[in-house]
């Protein structure tokens, strides 16, 4: 169904309310776009905010497609009512909007004339509203469609016909007191006989507090004191609106006209003045005071609804809320440095968790995670290559060399085979980089091919670590290799066999062999250390 048509369509006899199939039959070349009432409403509000800044602060939307402005006492600023309407019409036309403008002494009258009068713009002088409405159809009175239809059936097609009608008889004809009352109310409002309350659009509350100083401040202490004052005022305003701030900005304007902005983010909405003060105070110390500060403004840049929390009498164990701590740490060290662990549904060990900024809120780990096969508390970002002596085709390492030190394995458990998650590549069609962020394959084209051993045991040498020789007890300055650079997709998706091994001193490691000897077309399997149990 057509909801709105342009001038060219009207010339083709198309009208709102017509079915799309019918409209296409009338005009096969019709261009249509889906209606989006929400966007229309937003655009109308945008227009209203523009008009409120330019013409009159008292205004609101009128139906779905109109705006009313109360211009009482304003036209002389533009040089008269006609000049005001001409200015408005010209600006709207320049913005590509087709507008019908009318100026009348009542809201109902202006509504009727702007929509149903033959010409535009029209100015109805005071006292002439009755005569102007006389020839207009009754739909112009802002009536319900059924009531307007009923009026037409009664033969009352023009507003002028209602003027001299006895009011009591109208009610009798309608058989409904409410409907008759509605007609009379709208008629009286249009003619100015009855008052019509106007509900102007309220400006959105802005959470900004300003503090000008007659004499410029020259010390940081003064700025902090001013900040304290501003924070209390802002938080009072936020409390009245039931809002909490997530991002706060402080403008410090200096006497020479330059200014500095300091911003701070919060992990949870808050309206605690001391907390805001604490977040901004450190940064205030660093600002350049120049010739002195003569204006400070504190603004809530991002607010969220914050319902007052119930204070409790029980369970006061002396623990404070963690959000202020998180905010302080993040604002000093950066969002990337302060993080929390979030679970992720994946069997690949390095994909089973995600480190995200603590601003993302608390995480929820599944209860049964503790009962899975043991995992190390520390995991290397990229698995470290090992040189391993192990039984082939399958078996735990008998000994391994890691960071230039060879250890003998006395106990081992495994394998725990973890196969690539082939469904991920199917499901989302993502690239293989997303599939394995750190494909644990050695740099430089995989392991060195070694001749087949005699006894069924052979060493599988991965590339050694490019780090200086470090013995046990030496200063550890390891730079782990950057595997994965030369990894192809087939190598990244090889199955892994994980083993939990313990060396002769009782240290436990989590190692895996990537690839299988049975399927060695992608290169021989190689061994990696993925984590240390301790």
């Amino acid at each position: 169904m057509l909801t709105a048509v342009n001038a060219a369509s009207i010339r083709q006899d198309l009208a709102p309310g017509l079915g799309l199939a019918d409209a296409r039959a009338i005009c096969p070349a019709l261009l249509t776009a889906p209606a989006s009432p929400k966007k229309d409403e937003d655009a109308l509000l945008d227009l209203a905010s523009w008009a409120s800044a330019r013409y009159s602060p008292t205004l609101n939307s009128d139906g779905d497609d109109g705006l009313w402005l109360d211009v009482t006492g304003i036209p002389h600023l533009f040089g008269g009512e006609a000049a005001l309407l001409a200015d408005l019409g010209r600006r709207l036309a320049r913005a590509g909007l087709t507008a019908r403008l009318a100026l009348a002494e009542t809201l109902g009258g202006a509504h009727a004339i702007s929509r149903f009068a033959p010409a535009s713009p029209i100015i109805i002088p005071d006292g002439k509203i009755g005569a102007a409405l006389l020839p207009l159809p009754v739909e112009a009175l802002r009536l319900e469609p059924e009531i307007a239809l009923l009026l037409k059936r009664l033969g009352l097609k023009r507003i002028g016909q209602l003027y001299d009608l006895p009011r009591a008889s109208l009610e009798r004809r309608f058989h409904s007191k409410d409907a008759a009352e509605a007609v009379l109310l709208r008629l009286d409002q249009a003619l100015g006989r009855r008052d019509e309350p106007r509900a102007p659009l309220l400006p959105a509350p802005d959470f900004v507090t300003r503090l000008p100083f007659p004499d410029p401040l020259i010390t940081h202490d003064g700025v902090v004191a001013g900040l304290d004052h501003l924070a209390s005022a802002l938080c009072g305003r936020l409390a009245r609106a039931g809002q909490g701030v997530r991002r706060v900005g402080l403008w410090v304007c200096r006497a020479d006209g330059s200014s500095t902005v300091i911003e701070a983010g919060l992990s949870a909405p808050s309206r605690e003045p001391r907390h805001l003060l604490g977040l901004l105070q450190d940064k205030v110390e660093a600002i350049d005071m120049g010739f002195g500060v003569d204006l400070m403004a504190l603004a809530a840049l991002l607010t969220e609804t914050l319902t007052p929390a119930q204070t409790t009498l029980a369970e006061s164990d002396g623990k404070a809320a963690p959000e202020p701590l998180i905010d302080r740490l993040v604002n000093r060290l950066g969002a990337r440095a302060v993080r929390r662990l979030y679970p992720r549904a994946s069997h690949i060990p390095e994909l089973a968790q995600r480190l995200r900024s603590a601003f993302a809120g608390p995480s929820l780990w599944p209860e049964q995670a503790a009962h899975k096969p043991p995992r190390p508390p520390l995991l290397f970002a990229s698995p470290e290559p090992l040189t391993v002596l192990a039984e082939i085709p399958e078996g735990p390492p008998a000994s391994f060399t890691w960071r230039r030190v060879t250890r003998r394995v006395i106990k081992a458990e495994g394998p725990e085979r973890i196969a690539p998650e082939w469904w991920r590549a199917l499901g989302r069609g993502r690239s293989s980089e997303d599939f394995t962020p750190h494909p644990p394959t050695a740099k430089g084209g995989g392991p060195l091919p070694l001749p087949q051993g005699e006894r069924g045991i052979r060493g599988t040498a991965a590339n050694s670590i490019p780090s200086p020789l470090v013995g046990e007890g030496g200063d550890p300055d390891f730079k782990s290799g950057t595997p994965g650079e030369g990894a192809t997709k087939s190598q990244a998706q090889r199955p892994r066999d994980y083993y939990r091994i313990e060396d002769e001193d009782g240290r436990r490691y989590w190692v895996f062999r990537e690839g299988l000897y049975q399927e060695s077309e992608h290169g021989l399997p190689c061994w990696f250390l993925h984590g240390v149990f301790g």
């Binding site: 623990k319 701590l325 000093r332 302060v338 679970p343 780990w365 503790a370 190390p376 508390p377 240390v532």
Partner: protein
């Protein structure tokens, strides 16, 4: 413990001096004397505790032990508050990053852990001090190399004032820091037999040496085990049999051998 009641086999009586869920393995025989009481419960006291690996490669063991202690403390406080884990980027590169499923295996809910990975040790120490002062923490874990004595004192005072245990895993070569309540040296020890598989590694066990503790004789050494079933650290059975000896003659022997 001097109740005169016969110990129930299989039951784990709580340590008399604490409500911490550290348990001592059941012992046959007479009530334990002074030497039996290994002050593991001191680790839950608010203050700075230094845990020092015996060698470079024992670093992860020190961390795992500290995490196990914190996990027990988190369970005791019914998981109200956060666990702050401060580390430097160097430490993360050296031993890896915190891994949630692995923390689950130690009994610590990863949702409680707030990780601060700072570029420098100074930043990490600042974050740690802020955390200790905030009173929002269950416990703090630090993987920082602290060189300035003043920093260590500040951390110790902040931890004591807010009654938050702060477990500092330091480097094996560094000398002891001032302001610590306790200092421990930890080395891995061969695990006991696994319940169902002879070849598999058993419960993680560590050899703990008490280096410094107020009101306690230093130098005593014990072997503790971590149980993956109950998420508790306890003295291993083999070690507790020798506990009386370690308490008295063990000290002397250690002093002789240096």
């Amino acid at each position: 413990m001097s109740l005169g009641l016969p110990p129930v086999p299989g039951a784990a009586p709580p340590h008399p001096a604490c409500s911490l869920p550290f348990v001592i393995a059941p012992l046959p025989g007479p009530p334990p004397g002074r030497g039996r009481e290994f002050p593991l419960h001191r680790l839950k006291q608010g203050g700075l505790h230094e845990i020092k690996p015996a060698s470079y490669r024992d670093g992860p063991a020190a961390l795992a032990f500290a995490l196990a202690v914190i996990a027990a403390e988190a369970a005791r406080t019914k998981r109200r508050g956060l666990v702050l884990w401060c580390l430097t980027q160097d430490a993360a590169r050296e031993w890896g990053r915190p891994y949630g499923p692995g923390l689950c295996a130690l009994g610590l809910d990863p949702a409680l852990v707030l990780i601060v990975e700072a570029r420098t040790a100074q930043d990490a120490a600042w974050a740690l001090e802020e955390g200790l002062k905030s009173r929002a923490l269950i416990a703090a874990l630090a993987q920082i190399e602290i060189k300035a004595q003043l920093t260590a004192r500040r951390l110790g005072l902040a931890a004591q004032a807010s009654r938050t245990p702060c477990l500092l895993v330091s480097r094996h070569q560094s000398s002891g820091l001032p302001g610590t309540l306790t200092r421990w040296r930890i080395a891995t020890s061969r695990s006991g037999p696994a319940p169902f598989e002879a070849q598999a590694p058993g419960a993680p066990s560590w050899q703990l040496t008490l280096e410094r503790c107020r009101d306690e004789a230093p130098g005593r050494s014990f072997i503790v085990e971590f149980s993956h079933e109950s998420f508790r650290v306890r003295l291993s059975a083999a070690s507790s049999d020798r506990a009386a000896e370690a308490g008295e003659s063990g000290e002397r022997r250690r002093a002789e051998t240096g």
